[in-house]
């Protein structure tokens, strides 16, 4: 995909939005220009930046936490047939549950602070990463291990030279697949019992202040957050997995 094509698509969407706004002609769908103006003024003089940072922090913390715990778990399960026999049925049952249904439960347990929001993101990403890393580790050909062991590699070297690099693409694929969902669920989580975060900001501006341009500015910020994370994953993949991009 070319950068120019993405820009053209973005421009197309803005034009479509402008047309829809003109057609609807109501305050609940302001024009892109109005929203852009609100976005920059909310960012510079308002509280949009602060709310965005709160959301960003929750996503980054939840992501890091899930990577740091799910990767070792996935590698351990994928690398050991015995552990796999116990863990896989559990994962099989828990994996398909839409994690968003746990939002009220987690809020009850962890309360109104950041911990609850981070825990929700963690939960969504954790299973996705465990499953992909596990499958990746289990799919490594045994010949790879035989030849490395014959070179003198023990457990530590196998981890360093095989398991760790092999899990990188799986982690990035998991993040790409789930980071959007994580942001979506973060929005839900931020509707409850908090006064910080983009979810709150959007809802508050839309339903209480009836400041629609500001509400849309929040929507834009949340979209940029998701898009930014998506781009970051792409960028990381190019840096960390150059072998996937050769022909």
């Amino acid at each position: 995909m070319k950068r120019r094509d993405v820009l053209v698509a973005a421009l197309g969407l803005v034009i479509l939005w402008q047309a829809a706004a003109m057609l609807v002609n109501r305050s609940i769908l302001p024009t892109p220009l109005l929203v852009a103006r609100a976005f920059f003024s909310e960012l510079t003089t308002g509280l949009l930046g602060e709310h965005a940072l709160a959301s960003l922090w929750r996503v980054v913390a939840g992501t890091l936490l899930s990577v740091l715990t799910a990767v070792p778990a996935g590698l351990a399960i994928g690398g050991s047939a015995r552990l796999n026999r116990f863990a896989s049925p559990v994962i099989y049952l828990l994996y398909p549950i839409p994690k968003v249904v746990f939002v009220p439960v987690i809020l009850l347990f962890l309360g109104i602070g950041d911990a609850a929001k981070i825990a929700i993101i963690f939960l969504i990403l954790f299973f996705q990463i465990v499953v992909l890393v596990r499958d990746q580790a289990a799919a490594l050909p045994p010949q790879l291990f035989q030849s490395l062991r014959s070179l003198g590699a023990g457990r530590r070297a196998l981890f360093r030279f095989v398991y760790l690099p092999a899990s990188l693409p799986a982690i990035l694929t998991a993040l790409r697949q789930s980071v959007g969902t994580a942001v979506a669920v973060l929005y839900i989580a931020e509707l409850f019992a908090t006064q910080r975060g983009l979810g709150y900001y959007i809802y508050y501006n839309g339903s209480t202040l009836l400041n629609y341009p500001a509400m849309y500015a929040g929507v834009i910020a949340m979209s940029l957050l998701g898009l930014g994370l998506y781009f970051t994953v792409d960028w990381l993949e190019r840096i960390l997995c150059p072998w996937k991009f050769v022909s």
Binding site: P141, Q143, L144, Q146, S147, L148, R149, S150, L151, G152, A153, G154, R156, A157, R160, F161, V162, P165, A166, L168, C241, W243, V246, S247
Partner: protein
């Protein structure tokens, strides 16, 4: 010298593949191991590599019993031995990196100190220096095996074990690599043990040929093939005779 003394080996729950099996190899020899599938030739190679353990009996290399991979023994498999995320250069360096990762501990790496990480002379020797920055997915099967050979030889092994290393390659490339392997082993004074399922390869490569039959193998059946080792051997009557003998023997074993 490699000595196999009353080796018995079976995978758990299966009948023995080797039973009270004795076999002796001398330093610098070139061996081919041939047999139909399931005869235990790969198992024997893995036992020699220290990747499998004898059920009973022992394998001695220079008087030392082998229970785990030995730093001086190199192993080259048919395929999949290269890391897909590493370039040719990084793959070839892998053995040296593993050794340096542990340091000269005598277990994972030789005690003789850190090896030079300069892999380029080996890549040049194997004719793949121009591919140093390519990934395995970008090069041919023959070039991948050259990388695996460079990786193993950079560790200066005294024993080289090969498990059907050229079986997935085209005939011309295969003959090329056979000649190169023999040349390098001669040059470096390496004892070569190559498992193959093709009669022609066994006759071409092995100055001695070990034929394994239907398990359990109790006695080594060895064929002397002293004339082999050069490309011209392929055109001699001795070669054709050896192929004929092996074919007949394999036929007897499987019928």
């Amino acid at each position: 010298m490699i000595q196999i003394r009353s080796l018995t080996f079976n995978y758990s729950g299966h009948a023995p593949i080797f039973q009270a099996f004795n076999w002796t190899l001398n330093r610098g020899e070139t061996w081919a191991i041939i047999g139909s599938s399931g005869c235990g030739k790969t198992s024997l190679l893995y036992l020699l590599a220290g990747l499998l353990k004898p059920t009973s009996g022992e394998i001695l290399i220079d008087g030392e019993a082998i229970n785990r991979p030995r730093p001086g023994t190199g192993l080259i498999l048919q395929e999949y031995g290269l890391l897909p995320w590493s370039t040719v250069r990084q793959n070839a360096e892998l053995g040296l990196r593993v050794h340096n990762f542990y340091g000269p501990d005598g277990r994972h790496a030789p005690q003789t100190g850190r090896a030079s990480m300069d892999i380029m002379p080996w890549l040049e020797r194997l004719g793949i220096a121009h591919l140093a920055d390519k990934y395995p997915s970008q090069i041919s099967g023959g070039q991948r095996q050259r990388t695996a050979i460079a990786r193993t030889l950079a560790l200066h092994p005294d024993i080289l074990l090969m498990d059907e290393p050229f079986s997935s390659l085209d005939a011309v490339i295969r003959e090329d690599l056979q000649a190169l392997t023999l040349e390098l082993c001669r040059e470096q004074g390496i004892t070569l043990i190559m498992v193959t399922h093709t009669i022609e390869e066994a006759a071409m490569m092995g100055k001695k040929i070990l034929l394994l039959g239907a398990p359990p193998n109790t006695m080594p059946k060895v064929f002397e093939n002293a004339q082999s080792g050069s490309a011209e051997f392929r055109h001699t009557t001795e070669y054709l005779e050896m192929c004929k003998t092996l074919r007949k023997e394999l036929g007897n074993e499987t019928s």
